[in-house]
Amino acid sequence: MAALCESFTLCGLGPSGGVGLGGGLLALEPGPDPDHVLLTDRGRTATLFKVSDQKPLGCWSVKHGQIITCPVVCNFETHEYIAVHDDKVLRIWKNKDINLDKVFKATLSADVYRIHSLPNGGPVVLFKGGGVRTLDVLLEAPQQEIENVISDEVIKWSEAFMEGQQPVLIFTTEKDGDFFVYVQKLKMNSLHRYKLEQQELSKPLSFTAYIKNQIITLLCLYSNDSVYKVLIPLQQNTEEEEQILSKSLLLNLSVSGSVLKGTSFVVLDKDHVAVLGSLAASGEESKECLTIWNTKFQTLQTSKELPLGTSGQLWCYEEKFFFTHGKVLTVIMYKCETSSLAAAVGKLKDSQTPDVSSFVNWNTLGDEELVVSLQSQQSVALKSESKMTLRSKRNTVAKVQPDTLSVGQLLLNLKDASTTAFEDELRQLMSKAQMPDFQATIGCVITALINRCKTNPKYYPRNFLLQIVQTRDLSYSLCPDLMAVALEKKDVHLLQICLQRFPDIPEEITYACLKVFLSISEAYLQRIDVNLESVICYIDIEFNNKEVKTEIVENGFNAELEQDIWDTKITKETHLTSDGEFCPVGPQKAALLNAVLHSAYSETFLLPHLKNLPAQQAVLFLRYLYYLYVKCSEKINTTLPGIRSPTINQIMDWMCLLLDAQFTVMVMLPEAKELLSNLHKFVRAQVRFYSELNKIEGSLRELQRLNHQKDSQTYSIEVLELI
């Protein structure tokens, strides 16, 4: 929950720095140390403040007649201050200098728009013509010629970041109502020009931007009281015709009928922006206020009225807002905590949560969303491009080292690669194990594969999917479409593995799997590789014998025919012997059904689906459950041998559930009658047996006690068999 805290006055402002648009300050920049800011007014003066002490530490001004045209910034590496006055004259000084006339001076050949100082990259100078130089380069030859990049466009806003080791500068320009975005990478000396998508009847008022994972997120405040988000990937190497940047609505600045007319805004964190503007309710006088909005839940988190008026400018450093309020520069501290829905609706008590370490990195998940939205935008952009550019693009992809690419970017680039290249790349990606957000990456990879399967029905990377699912700890929610596609392709082995490994399969899918498993013919399953470890220990003997027998009897028959006969024969036999001695399904099917029995479910959600199971399949399934139940009861500890074999509780629960769901059908169906009566007899016999056991419980306990006494002897000779 974001909140505004106490406020205080940093300093009073002179006559020039008043309220109203056009008034105010030239800029506020961070000072050389934390808690320091550099204030440049619209006249001749720059002042350094220590914020927490509300105290000026230094003040410098240029001569009468001169005027500072570019905000003073601090070079964080050398702790020097840099300013430009009268558009062209560069001044550099240190803390101990008093008179600006006597400090270093350089006259440049073109007008400066702004200087951006980067913590590790040194200052960068942006000229009004769009040219960019680092200060070092500029000082080598101050009179060097500066190119004009933007002809008669006017720069509206600029910002600089460090991306890895290289400074990146972004600025926006306007010409005849059209807005353009330029991204300049200094080291690579590459400049990209984008056109901002037009918006009917409104135009951008203010910009802000941040960089994350090689993607610049540009936020624009429009005159229609909305904030839009524009994503600009840094990795583009094409130098082709200008691209149009599409934007998406991030936030609508209206709350219960009143609309905030924003003038400037800053980004606080992933989910919060602060907007300074006037709040106008219909029929009421507008009031200026500072507001914090949650973009995730689209809510106004907090606001503070500023009755004395502001200049419309807002800065934010080190969790403090700075703005002019009346005739003073006011500082407000704020708190911005991770947003949760509970916090957004005001239901979170107090954030007294201790230092909990969570396993899921939600930041990376957030980025996934970003990638998806980027993908959708990108696909639009791609469509507009010709086939030729696509090819050239692929070439560049091949050259770029995959290390430098984020996963999302890589997947994006691979969208159109050939199948083998695609799988190779993904395998390579997977082999880079132990990435910090590996889980999320795998999710992305699977999603990419599945998307490809969906678009290309012939494509189905069975082994690759199997490999991923077998080796990684995935969950259903991480790749929701995977099982749907597997169901469609009837890839029972993959489904089996998924059922065994995913902890969170919805009941609907579990049911769909069950139905597929029951409906698939045994002959088809015989050819398929299924993990049999759950049945091998209790099923194989009967089957071995059987196979031998059938081979002898039916020698010379065609295999499929034989299969059919065999099936009917078995059902007949089970009817005859009727004590559940033979397994009604083949080992493969049994293994698949065991996987279903093993998966987690909730009765309430499963029951409605089970009602839809066709009667024949329901009977077959019940028969198999009955068989398992009898098998279990044979053993004294009522457990089946083997790995991942179903437990007696699972068997009983499924049996009850199936009977509940299919009760009427079972009662009506003639072939179920005998099965039910057998089941009934068996259960009744068991109940009797256990009640008898209860009667002799006392005697049994006595036996056990005797046994225990023997155990406590200090010496005995026993027989141990090792197999």
Partner: protein, 686 residues
């Protein structure tokens, strides 16, 4: 595979001594532990917490405090009033200095390990300088009445906090003056009880933490003399306290056997204000937890119930692995039992005596799990008491049962035992050769004709046994490149040709007994050897390491065998590698050369080299599954490891003949009954 007749022995009345104190090596990976009988042990974290070194105790040498100083030098101090330095290579006391202040209750080294402070019965705190080759008395700090029970240096070495009865004091090290004296007593209106400060810790922030007999853990600002926080964790005393290196977590141990972790946590998320919060309670012990230690990844506690418990902090764990498991050690990581196969005798080693037993017999046979009726009961033949205050280092009985040998720190004894009908006569062998003592391991050759004595500096002496009761020194083997460490394990081949010896540097040397020369060295592996044995038929040396790896080395060919390479290629089963106690004994079945028999505390395993190795998806402990399967289905499920967990805790297992095993168990319950009653705690209104 087959049926065995198992002699299940539970009459080995070993009661391990309680844990008295613990000391983690600063910035190192070793843990020193002292027991109430004066024994000192060193565990190596890097070698899967293997009990690397044991210095047996001494009647007159109790250890009340242990500390590491000057890197890897270990000092102990006790109620005898002496400060003792231990020689970890020779596993004995290196030197001893009188503290001159009566019984010593506590000792602490400063952060740089250059000075030791001791707290004495007479109320003095004395400083000693750690110098090469010993320690030197430096000076006394301000002396007042009342014994000093615990001590802690400020991390900057400028102050010392000392806990006493009813109060603790803070000394300025430079001036030696008491700069603060804080009463911790609370006044009960009628009865005034004294409050003992059992343990104290000085943090770099100036906070002093005390734990006392009222069950409180208190945090003091020593400069202002004020109590900042107080937590009552128990109704009985809080006996021990340890702080993590980062000073953000402490562990305390109480006399009810519970331990608690306290953590310094922000009051709110992201807040700068922090407070000590009791976070995790554990109840691993039944008796007093006299010693606790806090390593960077684990809470370690030792109790009078002789258990050492290492409880890893899961938040410090990067991955699930060997370190992430809770482990409890009650028994030593070496064997205290030796067996005379032919004579069916067992020799049990206690701290100050030996017991020789003859096993019983039966003439019946039966099916799996059956208990057979005995036709002869086991017989206690001899009890040999070691004279003097020293505890026994090692002992052995010869395969024929005719010889028994043991060694203490300064004496070596060899006895000739003769059996006439039901009577036993035992005679001490006079004039044993003067050897470099102590002996760390004794081993008779399989024909009972010679005795191998593991000794200091990597050397092994060979003694020839002479009838009717004498011996002479034949040869001394030394590793060709020399070694400072003592030999701690020996194995000899059945044909009397080879001898393998492992020293504290974990190098395995193989000597040729026929021509008395060094044969070869097994390639070094960076982990402690826990057991080794030479196969009677193939002369392959089987070695187990504390990281649960298993190697087979062919002595004649001087290289690892093909099977060993196969094991390394396939890797051992995950469950095998995650076991937490080392293999302590290996033996073979001469009738079935592909079998290797090995055991640890919790399992007995027959390793059949002729069967395939299990992969990670297979069930390692598959005996119960196999028993349920019909004969035909078993074949496919068989794998090399045949594990039996029926006998626990297993101190010793050996093969007497082809299908006859002996298993020596020591049920924990039997030990518990030997311990004093734990503090009575009310449960459910009883």
């Amino acid at each position: 595979m087959g049926e065995f007749e198992v002699h299940r022995v539970r009459f080995f009345g070993l009661v391990p001594a309680g844990v008295r104190c613990l000391a983690c090596q600063p910035r190192g990976s070793r843990l020193a532990l002292a027991r109430t009988d004066g024994a000192v042990e060193v565990y190596n974290f890097a070698a899967n917490y293997f009990q690397e070194k044991v210095i047996p105790g001494h009647e007159a040498r109790s250890v009340e405090a242990l500390c590491w100083a000057a890197g890897d030098r270990l000092f102990g101090a006790g109620l005898s009033g002496d400060i003792t330095e231990y020689d970890l290579a020779l596993l004995c006391v290196a030197r001893s200095v009188d503290g001159c202040g009566g019984p010593i209750w506590s000792m602490a080294a400063n952060s740089s390990g250059t000075q030791l402070a001791i707290g004495c019965e007479d109320g003095s705190v004395k400083l000693f300088q750690v110098v090469p080759g010993g320690i030197q008395f430096e000076r006394n700090l301000d002396r007042r009445k009342g014994r000093i029970l615990c001590l802690s240096w400020h991390p900057s070495d400028t102050h010392i906090a000392a806990g006493s009865i009813d109060f603790f004091r803070v000394f300025d090290v430079c001036s030696g003056q008491t700069v603060q004296r804080i009463m911790v007593n609370y006044h009960v209106l009628k009865v005034r009880r004294e409050c003992i400060v059992w343990s104290i810790a000085f943090l770099s922030s100036g906070t002093v933490i005390t734990s006392d007999s009222f069950g409180r853990v208190q945090f003091w600002d020593w400069q202002r003399g004020t109590l900042t926080e107080s937590h009552t964790v128990s109704t009985s005393a809080v006996l021990s306290l340890a702080v993590s290196e980062k000073e953000d977590s402490i562990i305390v141990g109480t006399s009810t056997g519970a331990t608690y972790q306290f953590q310094l946590l922000p009051v709110k998320m992201g807040s700068l204000e922090k407070r000590w919060v009791r976070t995790k309670p554990f109840q691993h012990h039944t008796h007093d937890v006299r010693a606790v230690a806090h390593s960077s990844t684990a809470l370690i506690s030792g109790g009078l119930d002789a258990q050492l418990v290492i409880r890893p902090l899961m938040e410090k764990m990067q991955k699930k692995g060997y370190d992430a498991a809770l482990r409890k050690f009650t028994f030593p990581h070496r064997r205290l039992v030796s067996c005379a196969r032919k004579a069916r005798l067992l020799l049990f080693q206690f701290s100050q005596h030996l017991e020789l037993w003859r096993l019983g017999s039966t003439d019946e046979t039966g099916k799996d799990g059956e208990v057979l009726p005995l036709c002869r009961m086991p017989e206690h033949l001899v009890q040999l008491k070691s004279k003097g205050p020293e505890h026994i280092y090692c002992s052995c009985v010869s395969p024929c049962g005719g010889w028994v040998a043991y060694s203490t720190a300064s004496r070596f004894h060899l006895y000739r035992v003769q059996y006439e009908g039901d009577g036993v006569s035992i005679k001490k062998v006079p004039k044993v050769p003067k050897l470099l003592l102590p002996a760390y391991q004794l081993q008779f050759s399989s024909d009972s004709g010679s005795l191998f004595v593991a000794s200091a500096r990597g050397s092994v002496h060979v003694l020839q046994l002479l009838e009717p009761g004498g011996c002479k020194h034949l040869h001394t083997f030394r590793p060709p490149s020399g070694s400072p460490e003592a030999v701690y394990l020996l194995a000899s081949s059945a044909d009397g040709h080879w001898l393998a010896a492992v020293g504290g540097d974990w190098a395995i040397h193989i000597y040729d007994l026929k021509c008395f020369k060094h044969h070869c060295t097994v390639p070094t592996y960076s982990c402690a050897v826990t057991a080794l044995a030479i196969h009677p038929v193939t002369n392959n040396l089987v070695i187990t390491y504390s990281d649960q790896q298993l190697f087979e080395f062919s002595i004649p060919e001087k290289q690892y065998t093909a099977w060993s390479r196969k094991v390394q290629n396939c890797g051992l089963h995950r469950v095998w590698l995650e076991r937490d106690s080392p293999i302590t004994h290996i033996t073979f079945n001469p009738k079935n050369p592909s079998h290797i028999l090995l055991h640890d505390i919790y399992m007995f395993c027959v390793l059949d080299k002729s069967l395939p190795l299990p992969d990670n998806s297979a069930l390692l402990m598959n005996q119960s599954t196999l028993k349920q399967l019909p004969e035909t289905a078993r074949q496919r499920q068989l794998h090399a490891f045949k594990i039996c967990k029926k006998f626990q805790p297993l101190l010793f297992a050996d093969l007497l003949d082809e299908n006859c095993l002996v298993m020596v168990e020591r049920p924990i319950m039997d030990i518990k009954t030997q311990l004093p009653l734990p503090i009575q705690q009310k449960k459910f209104g009883t």
